[in-house]
Symmetry: C2
Subunit: 129 residues, 2 copies
DNA sequence: ACGTTTTGTGAAACACGGCTAACTTTTAGT
DNA sequence: ACTAAAAGTTAGCCGTGTTTCACAAAACGT
């Protein structure tokens, strides 16, 4: 069951928020992504069904599988945002637009692009939120 | 009335096909994009309403407004495909994935990125289809 | 412990962009 | 000119991902 762009965004935001604040609730994701809590509720149900997240009483967390994707997305996010910022794009715009670019490439293509552009330093998953 | 990704794809394909063969019919667009003629028919109605295309008896053509966007998209397409190919991605995959990247950036950001990466040579709108 | 506020869920609706199927219109072969 | 094929349109459906609104459940202040 392939993940769509929006699913990847949800996973990524759970990942970022959990690094930032420990536990993550639906409402946090909703605020972070700028969608309603109903949307998050629906999306979480789907993602849980597909084995990407698990929902506790009052929190959501990534499974192994979900974490892998989330980390990958975040890595790409940082890469593209860094690239755009280096090109002179403002951080706000770079962040907005990077958000979309991160979903366009296969893992293989992304690695090739990154290695050609030689930005391994700023693109790792360890970059802070 | 903002254009969506799919709308931009339709405009771009009309542009490419018109360079390739002169006049463009709906069916050509359908084959080029791999969608049904019904989908094209619907999309053309919308694009005509918004002033991006005009439909003759048996052809479609871009308005000034549509042409501007189509050219821009094609320019970006060539840029991203070239970039990916240079990175070692196969032409087929590069073309597929470049198709999505071209919709992510604002004009301003794209220009900045292009000028930083210095690929003006291959990214112009004069590149052949 | 009670009531208020916050958080989460469920139902119904909508927009979008595809599809199929049936139909109409145009084009083209003979 | 007639018929058959090709092209275009229309109507209706589906999946995805939103929304709003109403409600349920949990958390929190006092």
């Amino acid at each position: 069951m392939a993940l769509r762009e929006s699913g990847e965004d949800y996973l990524e935001s759970i990942y970022v928020l959990s690094k930032r604040q420990g536990t993550v609730r639906s409402i946090d994701v909703a605020e972070y992504l700028g969608v309603t809590k109903a949307s998050v509720s629906k999306a979480m149900a789907t993602l849980e069904n597909s084995g990407y997240v698990e929902m506790g009483k009052r929190d959501v967390h990534l499974t192994e599988r979900g974490l892998e994707i989330a980390r990958q997305m975040w890595e790409r996010h940082c890469f593209f945002v860094g690239l755009l910022e280096d090109a002179g794009v403002s951080p706000e715009v770079a962040s907005q637009e990077g958000c979309h670019m991160e979903h366009c490439l296969s893992e293989e293509s992304f690695e090739k692009l990154r290695s050609m552009l030689g930005r391994e330093d700023v693109a790792g998953p360890t970059t802070e939120a």
